[in-house]
Each structure stands twice: as structure tokens, then as C-alpha cells.
């Protein structure tokens, strides 16, 4: 067999394509965002944000109406009190969109192909236009990993460019651009949704810092930790801010001064945001351990539970009698009030789960990547009720 130049070209092409496919071993570069209200689930999954009917798992709408490869949605969509769905893109086009579900047209929308889209853009053809956005904020310099937080009529939107953008909820107008850059010359990566106690907005950064921003004056304090903080903080029953970090520590912050102290050492990195229920905080670490920490006593309610070897990045769903914990493997565990655990829903044949589950409409919603479906609805017994998309 002779390797002619033509065959070499073919070989190189195959190899580069294989490299692209094998980089599929990189697979998803992040996981979906998920939220829900009374009857609708909102799933931000790559190129689209889906609104899904909770009763049957059918798609109600998806955004954008015409596919756009420059967009990528992966943060939890935020449901504002005025009905807007706010979600940012982590794609090349890193805009923040306020979608108005009421503006979606009835019935299917005609798909516009690449050539036609180009002709439309230069005015040589007419394309159907549907503007379902109430507003679009395009001035951020980085992509959106974090979800924004709505406080009164303001949207506090932390961006990976290190800025906290404060916008008018109704118009999207920029009220304030707060650069939370600390002492570093490189921008702080703000990856997590802020949390508020009504007076302050607390922002955590991947660059080891916690900020407490006054919601009115925008003055802020800054504190340094020893580990990156990929999750959000949480306000405890004592009014203090609790933050977990990759330094394997849970820290307690005074919300006014920012003064802080470690309250618990963990076995692994704390990734997910702790969840508060009464005087207890529930959270996991990336070594697969689950913790229940009592704020009043300053101690664990029981020794941490090792659920599995893989990481747990999702926050738990906490109930009166225990908590549901989603692990990377896709298994959903129920841990009762004594720390005893059991598999409540077994992992699908393929797929991984990193997204925090959501409880809505009587179902527990669990999102998967690298699976045959994006979302599954489980009833109170952990049995599957529907999957989305049904025919994927």
C-alpha cells in the first residue's frame, strides 16, 4: 500500500476530526442550570433555555427561537417577580437576557437557515422576527457563569470579568458597575449567584474573596479566604453568612463588618452552596461526603456520611425528615435525620449529575449531562414520571 499525498490529506483530516471527537471526551464543558416555579421548569442547557411543563414534561417554549451558536446557557435561570426569566450566556456572545414568556408566539416558529439568516442580516431577504426579550444587557466583558439575584427592582449580576453589574429590573439599564477586583491585577472570577439579607448583597469569588455590598449605597467590604469559592454563601438562622471553600473549610462572616472565622473543617473541597433549614446547614464536598452542621452548637449533628467516591457539587434538597443528595454518578440519596442513607433513585445507565436538583409541582427534578435526556422528574417515591426531551 502506498501512502499517497491524497491519502495523507485524508488521514490528517480524519485525525483532526477524531481529535475534535475525542475532545468530546472533554464532552460538556459545564453542566446545565435549572430552576422552576409552580408549574414550569426552566432548563438552561447549552444552546437553549427550555420552559417545560411540569405536569407532563412537554416543552412550552425554548430560547432563542432561532439557533445561535454564539450563545451558551448554563446558569440557573432566575425567575423575577415581574415574570421575566433572566439568564446569561457563557458563549462568545455573553449577553444577559431578560426573557418575557408572554411574548412567545403561539405555535411553531419558522426556522431560518444559515444562508437565509445571512441574507436577512444584509437586508437581501426578509426573515420573521420575534423579540421575546424584555431587555438585553450586552456590556459585560466576560461570560456569565453565575445567575443574577433580584432584590426589589434591581438585578445584581456578577460576571466572570470581575464586575458586579447592577441593573434596573424593568429596563435592564445599568445602574452601577462595581469592579470587585481586590488587589489582583487580573479580574476576579465571579461564578456564583449572590445572596442577600435584605440590606447587603454577598458575592463570592473564585479568586478567594468574599464581598458584602450595601444594596443601596454599593459600598462594600472584602475579605480574603485561603481557598477558591465556587459556590454561594447562605444566611444562617443567626443572621451570619456561611461560606464553604476549596480550602476544605466552612467559614462564618459578620454580614456588616465581614469579620470571619472558620467554624468547620471538612474532608474535601466544599463546592455546592450549603442549604439552611432551621438551625442546621446541609452541604456536601467533592470527596462525596455529606454534612449536617448545627449553627447553635457549632458542631456536626452526626459524623459526615460518605455517600460515594465521586464528587458532589449540587446543593441538597432539604425536607423535614431528611435531605436528598444528587451525586456525580447520578444516584440520588436520601439521608435521614440520623445520618443514615439510602439510594432513593438509582443513576441512569449513562450520565452524570452536577446540577442542584429542584423540587416543584410535586416532583423532584434532576438534570444530567452526557445522558439520553437532560432532565428527569421523580415522584415522591423516587420513581420516574417523565423525562425531557422525551424522544431524545
Amino acid at each position: 500500500m502506498i501512502f499517497s499525498m491524497r491519502k495523507k490529506i485524508l488521514l490528517v483530516t480524519v485525525i483532526l476530526l477524531a481529535a475534535v471527537l475525542l475532545s468530546g471526551c472533554v464532552g460538556s464543558t459545564t453542566w446545565p442550570g435549572l430552576s422552576a416555579d409552580g408549574d414550569t421548569a426552566y432548563l438552561a442547557n447549552g444552546l437553549s433555555v427550555y420552559a417545560i411543563n411540569l405536569s407532563d414534561g412537554e416543552e412550552i417554549w425554548h430560547y432563542p427561537l432561532q439557533s445561535n451558536s454564539k450563545l451558551a446557557f448554563n446558569s440557573n435561570p432566575v425567575l423575577a417577580p415581574n415574570g421575566l426569566v433572566i439568564v446569561g450566556s457563557s458563549g462568545v456572545d455573553h449577553s444577559l437576557f431578560a426573557i418575557n414568556p408572554e411574548k412567545f408566539p403561539d405555535g411553531p416558529v419558522e426556522s431560518v437557515g444559515g444562508v437565509q439568516k445571512f441574507l436577512c442580516s444584509i437586508g437581501l431577504a426578509t426573515c420573521p422576527e420575534h423579540h421575546v426579550e424584555e431587555w438585553i444587557f450586552t456590556d459585560s466583558e466576560g461570560h456569565w457563569v453565575a445567575s443574577p439575584l433580584v432584590v426589589s427592582d434591581k438585578v445584581f449580576a456578577p460576571n466572570a470579568d470581575g464586575n458586579l453589574y447592577i441593573l434596573d429590573l424593568h429596563t435592564g439599564d445599568l445602574l452601577k458597575k462595581l469592579t470587585l477586583d481586590g488587589d489582583s491585577k487580573t479580574p476576579n472570577r465571579l461564578w456564583s449567584q449572590p445572596v442577600s439579607d435584605g440590606q447587603h448583597v454577598f458575592v463570592t469569588s473564585l479568586d478567594l474573596q468574599v464581598f458584602g455590598v450595601d444594596a443601596e449605597t454599593y459600598e462594600y467590604w472584602r475579605q480574603d479566604l485561603t481557598g477558591a469559592i465556587p459556590g454561594s454563601g447562605v444566611i444562617g438562622s443567626d443572621g451570619m453568612l456561611y461560606v464553604g471553600s476549596l480550602a476544605k473549610q466552612l467559614e462564618k462572616f459578620d454580614p456588616v463588618t465581614g469579620k470571619h472565622e472558620p467554624v468547620l473543617d471538612t474532608k474535601g473541597w466544599i463546592w455546592g452552596t450549603p442549604v439552611v433549614n432551621g438551625d442546621n446547614l446541609y452541604f456536601s464536598d467533592v470527596d462525596g461526603n455529606f454534612y449536617s452542621y448545627n449553627i447553635k452548637s457549632g458542631k456536626l449533628n452526626w459524623e459526615s456520611v460518605k455517600l460515594e467516591a465521586g464528587p458532589i457539587t449540587a446543593s441538597p434538597l432539604v425536607y423535614a425528615d431528611g435531605a436528598l443528595v444528587v451525586a456525580e454518578s447520578g444516584n440520588v440519596y436520601f439521608v435521614d435525620g440520623t445520618g443514615s442513607d439510602d439510594v432513593w433513585h438509582a443513576a441512569p445507565e449513562k450520565g452524570k449529575a452536577y446540577t442542584t436538583p429542584v423540587s416543584a409541582g410535586g416532583y423532584v427534578l434532576v438534570s444530567y449531562i452526557e445522558s439520553d435526556y437532560y432532565l428527569i422528574a421523580l415522584d415522591e417515591d423516587g420513581d420516574q414520571k417523565w423525562i425531557f426531551p422525551a424522544g431524545k
Binding site: M1, I2, F3, S4, M5, R6, K8, I9, L11, V12, T13, I15, L16, A18, A19, V20, L22, S23, C25, V26, S28, T29, T30, W31, N74, S90, V92, E141, G142, H143, V145, A160, D161, T186, P187, R189, W191, L206, D207, G227, A228, P230, L246, A247, K248, W269, W271, V286, P311, T313, Y354
Partner: protein, 295 residues
């Protein structure tokens, strides 16, 4: 008791180890390459882990500059694969020179309609001239696991998205104490994040500067390695010309959509390749000039 002391004349002649019939050293080389490839792909995660940890180590000694770490990493890969590249280059040149060989051209004409016979004759000529037709392909093949592993390596090492950061934690060896390094500084020169595709605003237009540089340097490297052909219209010359267009365009689009850190790798690798060709005296600078191919 048997007398084992034999005179030299009686001693059996020591034969060098013989390969089974039909096996050549070239076959052995091919099997070795396949074995390396199988080993790499069946231990894919281990390969990525090794490369990620090398990258983190370089990042640490490069003053926490990820762009510089990628450049040093590329140099390391180039140094490690230098002998393979050199062999590949040698094989390419030999194959190209063969295209201008009188006997070669004669058999092409003579057996143009008998492909089987043509292949036999070509193999005979290769044997007679001591050329391995796979000489330029095997070294290239053995480098593929590294090329394939580069995309996840750079993606995970930069940790620009939550999942890639989590993977970095998974792949980093304990002794690296990676938590003290996180998050890695992923900005470099004018780029804010080497984990994302690069676009630069020029006069209000979003220009993929890095991808363009990848395309240009790939074009230059490909052109420099094109040996002059006796007949620029022959099929090989045509396909080589096509390659000079095809590869830069492909890598341009590749760089357009992947992490800009990968584009930094391509550019560094291209520049080093050009330097390597030049140092070996193989660079054909005339090819860069319009009409430079003509002799």
C-alpha cells in the same frame, strides 16, 4: 559423560535472531507504533492526568502565567518529539524526491492501467532505494495521542468552566497541592481567558486575531516544507498545494471555536516547526514568494 568442549569448527554457528518469514523490521516498527497507540488510548485518562500535571508543574515554575506555561509545554513536546519529527521530515523529503525519479515516473506511465502491478513495482523501487513508504507516517501517528490529549489537557488545566475546574481537581496529583494554585491565572497578553475562544475588538469589529495567526503560521510552515517539484502540474504537486491551503483553513476554524490556549499551542508549535526546518536546512523560503516554486 558428554564432552561439551567443542573445537571452533564443531561449534554451531551463532545465527542472528531471525524474524518470522514475511516479517520485516518495518513490520515490527508498525506493530510497535500500534502498540503505543493502543496503550495510550486504553489508558486515556492516565495520559491526560500526566499531561495535566506536567502543565500544572510548568505553570508553577513559569510564574503562574498560563500562556507562558503553554508555550513551554509546547517546547517540551517539540523537544520530546524532535527525533520523530526529524524522521518524518526525512521520510517526506525522500518520498517527494521519489516523485522526480526517472524510474518512478517510468513505472507510473507503464502501469497506469494496472494498479496492482503498479503497487508491486512501487514497492520494489522503494525496497531498492531503501525508502520506507511509511517513514513519514509512523512518526506522525505516534504523536497523535499527544495531540488528541492536548485539547482536554488545556481545557482542564485552565479550569475556565465549573466542570473543567472540577476535572482539574480530579486529575491533579496530590503532591501538586493544586488548591494553593487555584484559580489558575488564565489571562495572557491581550487575552482575558485562554479557556475561551479569542475575539479582539478592532475598530468595532470582533476579530479572531489568534485564529488568523494560527492560519498564517500553518500556511507558512506548510509552504516552507514543500519541496520543489519537477512538474508543478503533476498530481502530487497539486495535492501538496491543496494541503497548503487546506490545513491552515482547517486549523483556523478549529482555533475559532476552541479554547484560545489551544491556538497558542498551534502558533508556538508552528513557529518551532519553522525553526526546526530552518535549522535542518530544509526550509524552502522561495516557496513564500509568488512564483517561488518555479525552478
Amino acid at each position: 559423560m558428554k564432552n561439551t568442549n567443542k573445537t571452533p569448527a564443531q561449534q554451531p554457528v551463532q545465527q542472528p535472531p531471525q524474524l518470522p518469514q514475511g516479517f520485516s523490521t518495518e513490520s515490527l516498527k508498525t506493530i510497535a507504533v500500534i502498540a503505543v497507540l493502543v496503550l495510550a488510548f486504553t489508558n486515556w485518562n492516565s495520559l491526560i492526568a500526566i499531561m495535566v500535571n506536567i502543565m500544572i508543574f510548568i505553570y508553577r515554575i513559569a510564574g503562574h502565567n498560563f500562556g507562558l506555561a503553554i508555550i513551554l509545554f509546547t517546547i517540551l513536546i517539540r523537544v520530546v518529539t524532535w527525533p520523530l519529527n526529524a524522521q518524518q521530515m526525512k521520510g517526506q523529503v525522500a518520498m517527494q524526491e521519489m516523485q522526480n525519479d526517472k524510474e518512478w515516473q517510468a513505472i507510473q506511465k507503464k502501469y497506469a492501467k494496472d494498479k496492482e502491478k503498479l503497487a508491486q513495482e512501487q514497492m520494489r523501487v522503494y525496497r531498492e532505494k531503501g525508502i520506507n513508504p511509511f517513514g513519514s507516517c509512523l512518526p506522525m501517528l505516534i504523536q497523535f495521542p499527544i495531540l488528541f490529549a492536548l485539547i482536554p489537557t488545556i481545557t482542564y488545566a485552565i479550569g475556565s468552566t465549573p466542570l473543567s475546574l472540577l476535572k482539574l481537581a480530579e486529575y491533579a496529583y496530590d503532591f501538586q497541592n493544586v488548591v494553593g494554585l487555584l484559580p489558575l491565572k488564565s489571562n495572557f497578553l491581550w487575552m482575558d481567558d485562554l479557556g475561551l475562544p479569542e475575539r479582539t475588538l478592532v475598530l468595532g469589529l470582533s476579530i479572531p486575531v489568534l485564529a488568523l495567526i494560527v492560519g498564517i503560521t500553518t500556511y507558512v510552515q506548510t509552504k516552507l516544507t514543500m519541496p520543489p517539484s519537477a512538474d508543478p502540474n503533476d498530481q502530487t504537486a497539486q495535492t501538496t498545494k491543496m494541503m497548503a491551503i487546506y490545513m491552515p483553513v482547517m486549523l483556523f476554524f478549529f482555533s475559532l471555536n476552541y479554547a484560545s490556549g489551544l491556538a497558542v499551542y498551534f502558533i508556538t508549535s508552528n513557529v518551532l516547526g519553522i525553526v526546526q526546518y530552518a535549522l535542518q536546512g530544509k526550509a524552502n523560503w522561495r516557496n513564500l514568494l509568488p512564483g517561488g516554486q518555479k525552478k
